[in-house]
């Protein structure tokens, strides 16, 4: 059943003992394995210099020479993983993959539909070497359907899901987004699914194949929009930072270049708090602002007044002052803010690790804070093929000579 031959009584990380074969590529493909690796699974990334993952390409962090070990995205999402170089186009390469799968629990992939099948490494192929293997495929639109062959990038999912059509200023055409929201989103959903399947396998001995599309994983996080249309036929429109029952509400300008604070007032109690923070500004006495209905009716004027007040102050000062009065407010943090922010630092949201190419670098840590099995170790993203010899020797007993020969033959490259 399980690859564990005995129960480990005092495991240190929650997923210790779990082995994952990871074919994931680009951000989305890395995100699932990253979760599992952080949590202590042995995540073996199968990759090849012959068909270099775009996540290892692009402008290097330092200098101008292309370097597969200097992509900042890769440094973040490949951390804690092991890299084994295998050329999947070779027959021996496929055999080695199968030998690895035979002693693994989970396989993760996000190639285009049928790509692994064409390589002879589909779920049905792998099940022959490991009867209870758990495998997930999570490409853009899933394994089947009229648009299954769609190509795209992270932001594609935001467009296909309807999210982009709603991001914009009130009454203005959609602006859309350029952040690849769908990538970490699908990675998280995929990690959940394979761990749930693993849970079932531990009880029943049965493996599982999961087909998850990035598109539907994204839709899964948009319940509010979908339900409004399903119930009322209402299609949401760009509404900026307005809210149906909050006023004042929005993102307000502060002192400095591109500095903003988010403020939300939803109740009379919160309005009273805002008024206390405003101090001597008598405009807030106005009867029209006294209750929720009145504030919603006068929201434009209210927001303009608040903006006047915030413009003269730093965003952190405004947020701190408002929070002291029980009002939900926060500075809109920029990347430089996030690096030094005291709350994010206290939570180890970012950690500094060493990488052979860069000495010290910041990568994101683990937001999941476990009381008994804390996640505190972050090993640098592997160099391409860094662990080929170590893994193949330890996990499937290949000799150093055999590994050297296969490398020369272009199999382990």
């Amino acid at each position: 059943m399980s690859v564990l031959s005995e129960k480990v009584t005092k495991i240190v990380l929650p997923l210790e003992g779990c082995r994952v074969i990871d074919f994931g590529w680009v951000w989305a493909g890395h995100a699932c394995g990253q979760m599992l690796a952080d949590l202590g699974a042995e995540v073996i990334k199968i990759e090849s210099g012959k068909q270099l993952d775009p996540a290892r390409q692009g402008r290097p962090i330092f200098g101008d020479e292309p370097d597969p070990d200097q992509n900042p995205l890769h440094h973040n999402v490949a951390r804690n993983k092991l890299s084994v170089a295998i050329n999947l186009k070779t027959a021996q390469g496929k055999e080695i993959v199968k030998r690895l799968v035979a002693v693994s629990d989970i396989v993760v992939e996000n190639m285009s539909p049928h790509a692994l099948r064409d390589l002879g490494l589909s779920f049905d192929d792998l099940r022959e070497v490991k009867r209870d293997i758990i495998m997930i495929s999570y490409c853009l639109a899933g394994q089947y359907g009229p648009s299954a062959e769609v190509r795209g990038y992270g932001p594609t999912v935001s467009s296909l899901s309807g999210l982009d059509s709603v991001v914009g200023y009130p009454g203005q055409p959609a602006i859309g987004t350029h952040h690849a929201y769908g990538d970490p989103n699908v990675g998280l959903h995929a990690a959940f699914a394979v761990l749930a399947a693993l849970h079932k396998r531990d009880l029943t001995g049965e493996g599982e194949y999961i087909d998850l599309s990035m598109w539907e994983a994204m839709l899964s996080t948009m319940g509010l929009a979908l339900m409004d249309y399903a119930m009322n036929g209402v299609a949401p429109e760009p509404c900026g930072n307005t809210h149906p029952f909050a006023a004042p509400h929005g993102v307000f300008p502060c002192q400095g270049e591109d500095e903003w604070v988010s403020i939300t007032v939803r109740s009379d109690e919160e309005w009273a708090g805002l008024r206390r923070a405003l101090g001597s500004q008598s405009w807030s006495n106005d009867e029209r602002f006294a209750d929720q209905v009145g504030r919603l009716r006068t929201r434009d004027e209210l927001n303009a007044r608040v903006a006047d007040w915030t413009s003269g102050q730093g965003k952190m000062a405004v947020a701190t002052l408002l929070q002291a009065e029980g009002v939900a407010a926060a500075p809109c943090l920029s990347v430089s803010d996030r690096l030094i922010d005291e709350q994010l630092s206290a939570r180890d949201v970012y950690v500094f690790i060493e990488h052979p190419r860069l000495a010290g670098e910041p990568v994101f840590g683990s937001p999941l804070k476990f009381s008994e099995t804390p996640v505190t170790e972050f090993r640098h993203a592997p160099l391409l093929g860094e662990h080929t010899a170590e893994v193949l020797g330890r996990v499937i007993g290949m000799s150093a000579e055999e590994i050297e020969l296969l490398t020369e033959q272009g199999v382990l490259v």
């Binding site: 005092k10 210790e16 962090i61 900042p72 973040n76 779920f123 359907g145 769609v150 932001p155 467009s159 296909l160 899901s161 999210l163 059509s165 200023y169 959609a174 602006i175 859309g176 987004t177 350029h178 952040h179 929201y181 998280l188 959940f192 761990l195 079932k200 194949y209 999961i210 087909d211 599309s213 598109w215 839709l219 899964s220 319940g223 509010l224 979908l226 339900m227 119930m231 930072n241 809210h243 993102v251 903003w260 988010s262 407010a329 809109c332 990347v335 690096l339 709350q343 994010l344 206290a346 939570r347 949201v349 910041p362 990568v363 994101f364 937001p367 999941l368 804070k369 009381s371 099995t373």
Partner: protein, 420 residues
Amino acid sequence: MYSDEQPHSERTIINDEKRYGPLHGLRVLELGGMVPVPYVGKLLSSFGAEVVKVEPPEGDPARRYGPFPNDEPDPEKSGLFLYLNTDKSSVTLNLRSRGGRRMLDELLPHYDVILDDFVPAVRAELGYDYEAVRRCNTRAISLSITPFGLTGPRAHWKAYEDTISAHSGLTMYSGLPSREPLTYPFFLSEYQAGVAGAVGVMAALHARDRGRQGQHIDLAIVDAIAGYHLGVSLIQYVFGRRTWHRQGRQARGGPYPNVILKCKDGDYRLIAQTKREWKRFLHLMGDPAWGEDPRFQDRLKMNERYGDELDTLVGSWLTSYTKQELFEMCIENAVPFCPLKTIPDVFADPHLAVRGAFVQADHPRAGLLQYLASPFKMRNSVTAIRRTAPLLGADNPRLYENDLGLRNGDLVRLRAMGVI
């Protein structure tokens, strides 16, 4: 059960409890409302776990959020609640009453997973912390999801979704450079924390199955976004590389194209990392002469210097075609561009129909509605919606008898005392 090729379009509600999900047998107590904790519960329940919502007597706040049919508020017809709480039971419990707080302690031993969204002030008020849970159940996995987490100088800060988005850094990512940045809508950040929390729960269960006891997981929504979504930007910043700054519908920092342009009936996203993709698109446009312009060969420079001009050239071709026409052409020619679908487009999408992405379900008060089906298509398990969202407290009799041996007379008394 389902082969790769079988279309899921005919899937409806599965009423056969024998087709078990992967988490059948797992018992989950859900002490949280709105989005983050209920999304954990929804993921677990969709995989077959038994999820019991413990709602305050006035109900989960999501019951008051909407949307509502015809905009008529009704705590049994809130769209957000209906979506997030499929396959769950509901009991009411007033945790602020002594009797209610005691009943919670009596329930805890019966559950594998306890989910809460209690911020530090609420934890103090209720006398609820992991130690209190552990005393009742040493094997329970206790997950707390709060805006800032339970530690840190701002753990006491008040937050709604926009507050969280701002502090995570996500708000700065979208909008026009000349105007205020735009928050993401629809509680997206809250869903991220939910799914991350679900991963944490499964990992903790894995540890528990291997000799560990229960434990606590403290998860901040801000951390989930600032980390998983926006962590990448820090290396670039620290090493003096260009970092992202919002530019409206365009992104000029990388190769051309990376922009949203108008087409005949809406908006279209053009994004191509590789030269080959760009060439395929030029070919799709009939290889216009301007494609050979020496100014338009270095795709980084052409984006930076001539982006607007190129947008006009490309745009004039795009406006001859609809979103759907373009989408089909792009797929056929392996061009990675796509339409900005609207929500109505999504409901009508033929690919999603074949995927069985939407399913009809009948709710006793809200009636027949279309719901998004579970996105996980599994070979050996079912993750379909089995039951629509529960009516408030509908499971009081069944659950309180099952777990605590209470009878109808007890419940009448407890209700009169304001405990349930």
